[in-house]
Amino acid sequence: MFLEINNIKKSFGEAENRIEVLKGIDLSIDKGEFCVLLGPSGSGKSTLLNIIGGIDSSDEGYISIDGEKTGEMKEKKLTLYRRKHLGYIFQMYNLIPNLTIRENIEVGAYLSDKPLDIDDMLQTLGIYEHQHKLPNQLSGGQQQRTAIGRALIKNPDILLCDEPTGALDYNTSKGILKLIETVNQKYGNTVVMVTHNDAIKYMADQVVHLKDGTIRKSYHNENKIPAEELDW
């Protein structure tokens, strides 16, 4: 198994304020799989994603990626690990305001020994003609595509997305989803995406429903449909 999530438990706060956010999560994701995490607000989706990405730690259990347990790594090694294998996309684009679109993507490329071609990426993202603009001269969707470009340019093994389309309209969201789908198929990256949008489950290989810190439902899609045909 490529990505193994084993009995992950996590709680926040002390004493009477203590809440158990994740109550023992087990999950396996294959290489190249597109996995969608669904669930109501506060169910622990982001927390789980952050633990997978190694920017948060679990109280119990472990994450193993390609046989390596991230929980055992020291901060330095963990950073190096993220650098080599992970790509992150958040709901907020978090671009660097005084770097151009192209340069923002270069910021991602810098992290990899063999990054993808930037021009190709800009074309794929559909922002080639905007490459020399600054982020605040672009629309939200264009900015999000830049953020995706920054994550993808280093061709990460795993792409972690936390509501990448949360702030975007129907069409733009669909465009972003198509993009992620294309990339997933073209480069075979494993994708884990957190979303509120129930419709997205149809394009996933694996669908996981979280509620109150446990997995309520988890299944593989027999016939997934392309992002193009999604509707909500």
């Binding site: 920017i55 948060d56 950073t79 690990y81 340069e103 991602g108 810098y110």
Partner: protein
């Protein structure tokens, strides 16, 4: 591949051009000035040190009444010394000054031509450059006394007169009233023998290895000479003020300049630090994302620290270029304004490089690294959540609804900006400290000068000088006769004159080791020093007490300078006298303590001039003129420096207040555009935001003055300990605080007006665009 983040640097520079320009100019100016100062100082130092060999400066001189015979000379030279004639005559010039004229000397104490040419024929004279400048005498001018005239052929610097002391016993020199000059040897020989002073210089065959050896050597030499000739005076080089004063005084401001530089660097590092930490707060989400995708903490720290380092590096390079080219000359000119130094060559100074380039960069790096590391310790997740404080969430302070809404709003703004205000406070403390420094120093000096003049022990204080012939050990009879002659000659009929004994010893404490303390042996019921000096009573001057932190009841140990004998005194009380570091005891007790005759005395206090004692028995007179000499010279040598520091302090103060309040107000830009969207007018917003900051600025200005006063006491004390041989009281008036406050308010008002205009221009979409 270069880190693409670095591409931001140039843009950041361009976007914040104003701020960086200000910092940069400040940096260049400070580094340039201090580097110029240090380079000039070391070049001058080298020039001075090398002058001893280059111009063959004497190891000492002695005066005799009659010209020595060849035989006498030969006898003296048996002591492994070489003797040179160094005759001079003195002329009262028509401009009211005294000119000491030597023959152009070729073997010892050679001169250095500064301008024009050396005198070649009768009627030509080369005069000291500084004296000439002080008296506005140009090359080619004619100068003259009642019965002679010369044409000035050029300016010279005489190596044995780098400080123009006319009398070695003077405490300060006066380069307006006294100058030195040379005329051609042939011309000199035509002078009347009557007016000649027979001075001889000597040099040792082998130089003594250290000061103590030199002292022993000189003492032996004096005894030996006393047998052969009748000495009028005997001054080894290490006691010759005209030669050593310059060397001792040089570099005394160095500590102050370096302290100033470091202070400014710390301030700038601090400004950079808060700028960066603001940027980090602003870019928290981005930093979190970058960290999450694998950027190491080190990479980000390196990125954020590049700007201050780059600016400092370029500033240091430019500053040094400026220092070596322009400012060094300016500072050298200042040296030439105080001393008669020979020509100098700019020398590379390792110390200057270290202090103005290496240390600032290291300081900048350390301070920013500390701030950055602290800031960056936060985990990536917290960055993404913009949860940067590492403390537990504070609960919002409850404000009752009774408080008017606007006041509550303002209070909220203040609470919200607590950390900014803390930084503003620290900044204002720094800035005000500099300003305080600049404003207080001239006032302190003024007060010192007034005080000294008003609180003289007596209008005239005569220090008698025992003729060297008394010391003749070999011929006891001769010595006795001289002594008798002397004691008769120094009696006066002046009614107001009062005898005292003076003796000097050195301190042995940790505060300022080896400092000279003047012991006064005072008569009981003295009318000049109204102290009860009965047996065993010991009073010290306030200057001494302040500098050495002494109080009644303390025991002090003093020792002889070149011997190991030491003496203990228990302080009975403090005498309110700042002029010198002195100790007052009973005269009989003092005489006994140092094995002096029972009715021995070494000087007179007097309210009127004493006219019936031969000048040759009077070593020095401390009178109003002598004291104003000190203040005049202090003004010449420190005045220009002080005003530079002054101007600089005010400049930096303004810049700092500007930068800090700008940062605070800018940080609120987001909320400002937010309330703008809500429909608040510009006036209201200004009243809300500017008012809160203004209130804090006023509060901090007041607070910082109190804090800085205490800082200043410590700093001033340190400067006094390091660079002055006396003691100057830190005495200031309330006027300084008023000046400081007004300057602070005015500066801030300028910033506030600029910021109000800026608030007007804050675009409304800023809140929407940048909210991440």
């Amino acid at each position: 591949m270069r880190n693409p983040l670095q591409k931001r640097l140039l843009r950041e520079l361009r976007d914040e051009a104003g701020k960086y320009a200000v910092i940069f100019i400040l940096l260049v100016a400070t580094i340039g000035f201090v580097s110029g100062f240090l380079v000039a100082d070391s070049s001058m130092r080298i020039t001075y040190d090398e002058s001893f060999e280059k111009y063959n400066i004497e190891d000492g001189y002695f005066d005799v009444k009659k010209e020595m015979t060849q035989e006498q000379k030969a006898v003296l030279e048996k002591n492994e010394i070489t003797i040179y004639e160094n005759y001079f005559m003195e002329e009262e010039l028509t401009n009211g000054s005294t000119l000491r004229i030597y023959a152009d000397r070729e073997d010892v104490d050679r001169g250095c031509l500064m301008e024009g040419h050396l005198p070649e024929q009768a009627g030509e004279i080369a005069i000291d450059r500084m004296y000439a400048e002080n008296n506005k005498i140009a090359v080619g001018d004619t100068i003259g006394s009642a019965d002679r005239e010369w044409t000035v052929s050029g300016y010279v610097a005489l190596s044995d007169y780098s400080s123009l002391f006319s009398d070695n016993n003077d405490s300060m020199f006066d380069a307006v009233k006294f100058g030195v000059a040379i005329v051609p040897k042939e011309d000199f020989d035509t002078f009347s023998k009557k007016t000649l002073h027979y001075r001889y210089a000597w040099t040792y065959g082998t130089e003594p290895v250290n000061e103590t050896a030199e002292n022993d050597r000189a003492e032996d030499l004096m005894k030996a000479m006393g047998k052969a000739v009748s000495l009028e005076s005997f001054v080894p080089r290490y006691q010759n003020q005209a030669i050593i004063f310059t060397g001792n005084d040089m570099g005394s401001d160095k500590g102050m300049m370096t302290a100033l530089l470091y202070m400014i660097i710390v301030i700038l590092a601090f400004v950079f630090g808060i700028t960066i930490s603001n940027t980090i707060t602003k870019e928290a989400n981005t930093i979190g994302t970058l960290r999450a995708s694998g950027y190491t903490r080190g990479e980000l720290v390196r990125h954020y620290i590049s700007m201050p380092l780059l600016v400092t590096l370029i500033g240091a390079v430019l500053g040094n270029i400026l220092g070596y080219t322009v400012l060094e000359k300016v500072v050298c000119q200042m040296y030439y304004g105080s001393y008669s130094l020979t020509k100098y060559v700019t020398a590379w100074s390792g110390e200057a490089f270290w202090k103005t380039t290496v240390v600032p960069i290291i300081m900048m790096m350390i301070i920013n690294l500390l701030i950055l590391n602290h800031k960056m310790k936060v985990s990536p997740l917290k960055f993404i959540r913009r949860d940067l404080s590492r403390r537990k969430q504070k609960r919002a302070v409850r404000l009752g609804v009774m408080v008017p809404f606007f006041t509550r709003f303002r209070l909220r703004i203040i609470f919200q900006n607590m950390s900014n205000y803390a930084m503003l406070l620290v900044g204002i403390i720094f800035a005000n400290l500099l300003l305080f420094f600049g404003l207080a120093l001239p006032e302190v000096l003024d007060h010192y000068q007034d005080d000294i003049q008003q609180n003289m022990l007596s209008s005239y204080q005569y220090m008698l000088s025992v003729p060297v012939s008394v010391m003749s050990e070999e011929s006891k009879i001769k010595s006795l006769i001289s002594m008798l002659e002397f004691s008769k000659a120094v009696e006066t009929d002046n009614e107001s004159a009062e005898k005292f004994t003076a003796y000097s010893l050195n301190t042995t404490d940790d505060i300022c080791d080896g400092e000279e303390i003047l012991l006064y042996g005072i008569q009981k019921d003295s009318q000049y020093v109204p102290l009860d000096v009965s047996e065993g009573q010991v009073y010290i001057s306030k200057g001494y007490a302040d500098k050495h932190l002494l109080k009644a009841g303390h025991t002090i140990t003093l020792k002889e300078k070149y011997k190991d004998d030491s003496y203990d005194f228990v302080v009975t009380g403090i005498y309110d006298y700042m002029g010198t570091l002195s100790l007052f005891i009973n005269q009989d007790q003092l005489n006994e303590m140092f094995d002096l005759d029972q009715d021995y005395f070494s000087g007179y206090f007097s309210d009127t001039e004493i006219t019936d004692i031969n000048d040759k028995y009077i070593g020095s007179v401390v009178d109003l003129e002598a004291l104003t000499k000190i203040s005049r010279q202090l003004d010449v040598s420190m005045g220009s420096m002080m005003y530079l520091v002054d101007g600089f302090a005010i400049l930096i103060f303004m810049v700092l207040i500007y930068l800090l309040s700008k940062i605070v107000i800018e940080k609120n830009g987001q909320s400002i555009s937010m309330v703008k969207i809500l429909g608040y007018g510009n006036g209201e917003i200004s009243r809300l935001y500017i008012f809160s900051t203004s209130f804090m600025v006023v509060l901090f200005l007041l607070l910082s003055m109190v804090i800085d006063y205490y800082f200043m006491l410590v700093i001033f004390r340190q400067i006094m300990l390091e660079s002055f041989s006396g003691w100057i009281e830190f005495h200031i008036t309330a006027g300084i605080f008023i000046k400081m406050f007004i300057l602070g308010i005015v500066t801030y008002a300028v910033v506030a007006v600029l910021e109000v205009r800026k608030i007007r221009k804050v675009p409304m979409d800023e809140a929407l665009k940048n909210v991440e």
